[in-house]
């Protein structure tokens, strides 16, 4: 029961936060309606919305998320410069292929975070996920060995993501 309440509170908090951002005002009437709606929707959706509930807001995880964002942004900028370089280069230096790598993430949401991060960062696009195996289209294949590829692609993100999505 305590767990369900945690799930409900977390869902309502996220929804209410989104409401505040969307309406962009702290007017009491608007805020009250938002709180009511957030609570009402959370009542019906909290079990689908979150598994961990309030644990998602544990300080350690939030700190990790904060630390992850600049790192991720930097990776994304590198990815864009990389694509731009290849698109502008007269001979288009491409060396593509699909490689198989294993991920250490165990939860579904963790796998999704890794797959999304891979897609947005230099030269890699997640094509298929099968249990703990990811098939990745790599624009510049530097290694076809699964262990080496594992270190080069998901290995970059996993230490931090593992702490955010245990």
């Amino acid at each position: 029961m305590a767990h369900r309440i945690g799930q409900f509170l977390f869902t309502a908090l996220v929804l209410f936060g989104l409401w505040l951002l969307f309406t962009g005002t702290l007017d009491p009437q608007e805020t009250a309606v938002g709180a009511l709606l957030a609570a009402g929707i959370a009542l019906f959706t909290h079990r689908r919305f979150t598994r961990g509930g309030l644990q998602n807001l544990a300080p350690g995880r939030l700190l990790c998320l904060l630390a992850y964002l600049p790192f991720f942004t930097w990776q994304m900028i590198k990815a864009n410069l990389d694509v731009a370089y290849r698109a502008l280069h007269p001979r288009m230096p491409l060396n593509p292929g699909i490689v198989r790598v294993k991920t250490r993430m165990t939860s579904d949401i963790g796998k999704m975070a890794v797959a999304n991060s891979i897609t947005l960062t230099p030269g890699t696009l997640t094509l298929e996920v099968d249990d703990d195996t990811l098939y990745i289209h790599w624009i510049d294949v530097r290694s076809t060995d699964p262990e080496e590829a594992r270190r080069l692609i998901p290995g970059v993100f996993e230490p931090c993501l593992k702490r955010i999505f245990p």
Binding site: V83, R86, M92
Partner: protein, 116 residues
Amino acid sequence: MNLLLQGVAGTLILIGSLFLFLGALGVYRFPDVYNRLQAGTKSTTLGALSLILGVGLAEPAWLPKALVLMLFILLTNPVSSHAIGRASYKSGYPLWEGSIVDHCQEHDACKGGGEA
């Protein structure tokens, strides 16, 4: 201060447009659907994020909404690209002949025709 903010906003919008253009160029030049998706995904994500952030800074009243938009783009863009790439592979679109490896070939999960 205001002028500085406008300058930063303008620069962000310019950078965003530039990345969107380069992404379009990549989509035009790259040889197969998978490489094109790579160009499409990365540049549309960062390009759109930079552009939206620029708009949010230029018009501070819109900033909270801009942040929510950025979050949703960040969460949904890679998922749609993954879905397109996966569907292409399952429908049998071949890799470019210059591709050097395809681990997906010998694996059941990648074969088309199944439900999944």
